[in-house]
Amino acid sequence: MKRIGLYLLPLAAFLVVAVFLLRGLWLNPREVPSPFIDKPAPAFSLAQLAKPDAQFAPADMKGQVWLLNVWASWCVACRQEHPLLVELARNKAVPIIGLNYKDKPDAAVKWLAQLGDPYDLSVKDLDGRIGIEYGVYGVPETFVIDKDGVIRFKQIGPVTEEAWRKTLLPLIEKLRSA
């Protein structure tokens, strides 16, 4: 009986390795966990897209749960998530601030005029410096920021209907009641 146990050992080892590798197959290497989760959103002050004279800082949103959505007119995936954002804005689901990342302001304004403007306001990150501060490595990305200005979640890639329903909305509701 002891011998059989010994012979089964390699099989067991193989199964353990197989389970790990199988799990690895379903992980998305593009989704790099953000080191900012549960950390304060980095402060910045940038000129607004619509009103270049006015500035915006994340501290202005204190006391609200809000989304910081990184977008650009040159970004194809942004087009994909845009209708959902517009709908959220129409339903006043959550305040959305746009970080217009490495874009030409003219092109950005035109893009919003064409497709609708879901943003409470957008700020211009012309050289992508604030993007780096937030660890942005692709557009679009969306941060969920709580009442105290702490980042609670980062959606990498477009916000899909499913991501909104299953992850973002429940999280926002939880943060609001907190």
Partner: protein
Amino acid sequence: MRILLALLLAAWLPLAATPAMATTEPTAMDPVAARRLVDLAAQLRCLVCQNQSIAESDAELAVDLRKQINEQIAAGKTDREIVDFMVTRYGDFVLYKPPFKASTVLLWVGPIALLLVAVFFFLRTLTVRRARIQERPLTDAERAEAQRLLASTDRNKS
């Protein structure tokens, strides 16, 4: 065998080559700083094209990050500070060499632990086997038989 060796060598060569900067950015900087820029950029993973370092990648983000490194070198930051800057923003994932910490213990210690376990079982098997062999002197009858056999083979040879 020789083919295998040639294949191995071919696979090794690209690794040996030093990473060249992907794009020609203005490099009016002193050679020491330039060297540091390349060294630092080569340690950091480009998150857009994940199998290239920031030094090799042509992605826009990599260009921006090289610019960042460049500025920070100019500002007198140490290599360590610059790497920390990247890690706080992009996480440990930017490092090609993962740091040793609780979540990576298995990664770093695993192979050594596996080797130790293997050595342990190997030695144990040897001792068990040695214990099972019984040393027993030959009886007189057996000795005589052995000598007879030896003698007979000797005769056959000659």
